[in-house]
Amino acid sequence: MIDEALIQEVTADLYSAALRRVPDDTKRALAAARDRETSENARATLDLMLRSTALAEKKDTFVCSDNGFPIYSVEIGGRAHWSGDLKAAITRGFNQLVGTISPPLLKHVANPLTNERGGPGKDMPAINVDLIGDADYIDITCIPKALGSGRFASIKTFIAPSLADIEAYVMDVIIDAGSQHCPPVIVGVGIGGNFDMTAKLASRATYREIGSINPEPLLAAMEERLTEAANATGFGPMGTGGETTALAVHIDYAFGHGYTPVAVCFNCWINRRAKARIYNDGRVERIF
């Protein structure tokens, strides 16, 4: 049985870890990009990024000052057993960490009606819940979403679009974001479902491991060509020029109706996300 105290502890740990550590898949992708780059400035910027990740680990400090919009994505296994109030445990774990973490956090959480900052506030942290089949665990992923990359997400609803229509739209969103979202980014694309499902698919797609192959062959090919296309734009690392604007494009889809929403979102180069799996017997496994 998974209890509230464990959920609370894991929740707090995940946020702290996400702020301090660039995930391994992302470090590998940055290093590979540095080795591929032909522009001297772009190589130097990627090098600086790798130095920053190493120094953050060594000093046990934050990679970025923007601790982001806190999102917890919770996937509950069909055979998971827990006691107590899951939402309260997550909220308590988050608030406890915010109050005690060192170094202290800047207060980014804002009231959208008044633009006043300071949090905690309504629906903070954001908790997205999904159900997963045949599993005796709960997965929790923490994603602190910074303003720099969160700001450029976009959604558009088409009527029976072709793949060419969808890809052209993805490129428009990438070019509109241009130099501003701390590239090289991970691009998440959601296709189909309805309005909120599409956005969720896009967002979830950014969590996937860089280098993993999409199980849908159609999408695997689409990811490959869109990654090449994003990198052909030339915005480069930190948007100051180069051949690495995207570390990956990840796509997911759901069956829908004749109207097809398409969502595009970004994770900046530090690609903050931390995930843990909590089993019914209390074991905790860090996935990334």
Binding site: N41, S52, S65, G148, A168, M171, I175, G178, S179, G234
Partner: protein, 208 residues
């Protein structure tokens, strides 16, 4: 790509030879803020003809900063990191002219009107690595002044002493050159060929 070590305060002349794509390091005092409230308040001061409570010294950087005052009046410097300057595009042309800026900084670049104001005033824009907080924070040596403390820490207007803050990439120079405008134009020029290549790759995948 040339490298420049600039001692602050800068002048029109000291930034004149710097070009887009160059690397700079800054040593001296910089004035920083990370937020909209500080920008709005600067406008109120300018409108009222009031002197700002801080000496700008020609340098204004979009740099959220977490510093805390200790009981003895000294400061703990926790961390700094840039924010996206395009958020403040509407403010910048006036700031560049009225605050006599020669170095503007942050990340992500500035709009065309700011580039023109920078050309007129002899000002460069330096791009700081977003997510480079551990590196850039080590370059902050002293908190000299913190104003508007009723704002959250990152929205205050502060003067910090830095040593070799960098490496910073010059995104806009004082001659109208902007890496951001150039890259945007380049990407839009390339788009038809990028889409044609996507068509070819899609056809290959369908035929495979």
């Amino acid at each position: 790509m040339a490298m420049h070590h600039l001692t602050l305060p800068p002048t029109r002349e000291s930034v004149a030879d710097i070009r887009v794509g160059d690397i700079v390091y800054l040593t001296g005092d910089i004035v920083v803020t990370g937020g909209l409230p500080a920008h709005k308040r600067i406008v109120e001061y300018l409108d009222a003809g009031k002197e700002l409570p801080i000496e700008m010294g020609g340098v204004f950087i979009h740099l959220p900063h977490m510093v805390e005052e200790k009981p003895d009046g000294s400061w703990t410097i926790h961390y700094v990191n840039p924010t996206t300057s395009t958020r403040f595009n509407n403010f910048l042309p006036r700031f560049i002219r009225d605050l006599d800026l020669h170095i503007l900084g942050g990340k992500g670049g500035v709009g065309e009107e700011a580039v023109e104001a920078m050309r007129e005033n002899g000002c460069i824009y330096v791009s700081i690595l977003g997510g480079g907080s551990p590196i850039m924070s080590e370059c902050i040596k002293e908190v000299r002044q913190v104003e508007w403390r009723e704002f959250p820490a990152h929205f205050r207007l502060s003067r910090l002493r830095v040593e070799n803050l960098g490496p910073l990439t010059v995104g806009v120079d004082a001659h109208g050159g902007s890496i951001y405008d150039a890259l945007n134009e380049q990407a839009r020029d390339r788009l038809p060929e990028i889409l044609a290549q996507l068509d070819r790759r899609r056809a290959e995948a369908a035929g495979a």
